[in-house]
Structures are given as C-alpha cells and as structure tokens.
Symmetry: C2
Subunit: 176 residues, 2 copies
C-alpha cells in the first residue's frame, strides 16, 4: 500500500509556515538564535534554509522532471547557502517570506501534478540517480517534519541546564 497521497502532502506543506509562525512568533531573540553548538543551526537559520529550498530546489526539481524526465540531472542543492545571509531580515520578515513562497509553490505544484500517473514520472538526482516524482514530493514533506523537529530540539536544549535532574527523563535533551 502506497502511503503517499498528494492531497495529504499538499495539506502538510501548506501548514508548515503556520506551524513555524506559531512556534517561533513573538519569542525573544535568544530563543530564535540559540543553536546546538558550533556548526549547528538556530531556528532562524533553519527558516533561512527552508526559504532557500523553496527558491532553488523543490519546485525546480518538479519542473525538471516534467520537462526533461531523467535526461537532465537535478542541480545540486546547496544546503548551507542560507548561512551567507547577514541576518539583516527580522524573524517576522522571514516567516512572511516563507509563507508567501510556500503558498505560491504549493499552488504551482497543483498545476504541474495533474493526474496520478505524474507521480510515477522519473528524474535524475546527482547522488542517487533515478528517483520518482512520488519520492521527491514525499521528501519535500518529510523535510518539513525534519526541520520542525530540529527547531523544537534546539529550543528544548536552550533550557537543557534549567531542568536540573529531569534532564534524564527528556529524550530531546539526550545526545544523539
């Protein structure tokens, strides 16, 4: 049984900006810029990464599959590109930007995936070789969950030393 359903994925993709707005909106800067140590990302930086993916990766790959199938390899995704941002934008600006581009991309996606058969189309990933549209769209969805979990973990760790002995009971505070 295939678990992927386009409507579910669209619903989840549409909700993520609202989830992040609810999680992060209104919190003081020290929460937004906390991280897990050197070379780890803050919630602010994760949001930058999500926006970069909307601009340069997910929907472009969908389009590449539609237009070229597996005859054109996807561009590699620069997963650290957002770190070059100079933190000029405020968190509310980033939340608005993510909401706007995600909404636009979800609408566009609905015009590109017209029938169930489109999910079986294939493309070519620079590392993995042949992948399907279904796998790409599933990954886009799980990638959201991955980064929501990361944001929540970073926020939990901000209080790692505040919880005292309870640390032992909180899985989110344990080393991976």
């Amino acid at each position: 049984m295939a678990r992927f359903k386009l409507n579910d994925a669209l619903e989840i993709l549409s909700k993520t900006p609202k989830v992040l707005r609810m999680l992060l909106g209104g919190l003081p800067d020290e929460w937004i810029h906390a991280n897990e140590g050197e070379n780890t990302w803050s919630p602010y930086e994760v949001l930058g990464h999500l926006i970069h993916g909307e601009k340069t990766d997910w929907l472009i790959r969908v389009q590449t599959i539609i237009d070229h199938g597996d005859s054109k390899t996807f561009e590699a995704f620069d997963r650290k590109a957002h770190l070059q941002n100079k933190k000029e934008k405020s968190l509310p600006m980033l939340l608005d930007e993510f909401a706007a581009i995600r909404s636009k991309n979800v609408q566009q996606l609905q015009t590109l995936i017209i029938e169930n058969e489109d999910l079986n189309r294939i493309g070519k990933h620079p590392d993995f070789g042949i992948v399907t549209m279904r796998e790409l769209l599933s990954t886009w969805t799980v990638h959201d969950f991955n980064h929501i979990a990361q944001i929540v973990r970073v926020m939990g760790k901000y209080y790692a030393d505040e919880v005292g002995p309870w640390k032992a009971y909180l899985g989110i505070l344990q080393p991976k």
Copy 2:
C-alpha cells in the same frame, strides 16, 4: 546566567495547543494513529499523555511546592495512564480538551508564581529528591518540545518508505 524566564515559559506553554492544532488538525486518521512500532505512541496517544499531565501532574506539583515545600513528596506521574483510554474521543475533541485545560492551568500558574523568589522554592521529587520550582517549570516547557518533536518524528516516519533513496539525507528517519 539563568536562561529561564517565567514570561517565556508561559508564552511557550500557551502556544503548544495551537502548534498541535496546526500540525494535526484536518489530517486523515492514518496519520493521527501512526506510530513507530510496538510500544510506541501515535500523535493521538501523545496528545492524551499531554492532557493527562495537565490533569494530574504539572500544576499539582506547583501547588504541592507552594503548600508543602519539600515536606511532601510529589505523587509519581503515571506516564502510561492515557493508554487506557479507549479512543472514544475524536482528535478535534482532544485538541479542544488540551487547549482548554492548558489555558486554565497557565492562568492558574500566574496566580501561584507571584514573585521571582517563588522560582527558588523547593519540592521533593519521588526519584530525584530536592528540585526547584524553576526546574519544574523549565521541565514542563521542555516536555512540550519533547512531545512536539516526537509527534513530528512519528509523522515523518509514516513516509519512511515513500522517500526512496532520500532516506539517507533525512535525520528524522534515522534510528536513534
């Protein structure tokens, strides 16, 4: 530098029901009742656990500290009590129940913690011995993050076989 600030904790505790409503509301049952295998919890069951904590644990422990200090040990928290529920309630009912009791508890908490000194009050935990009010309130907050991360992880894993080779790039899908 103490990172705990009562206003931040109150804000986060107040937002969690809305985060969960945004994450889970409207999704089909197979997502809500997915789990990570035997003896793991579904998002529905995590929500039951959070409600049980509101009813029997967090605020009661705050009150115990206020009334008895460390002369009365906290009741042990039955972390599996919610599994006895018969799933009679719908997800929207649970989301409403959690929102209502959390809101009530946060209001009540604001009447109990009046000055900064109250955060230094001590109580007695059945496993850990002496704990502080600050540690208890920090733990209540991080416990929310812990279970939001769990819910998101369970949902990500629901698509574990859908993402194909991308599984290797998604931390949320890796074994712990």
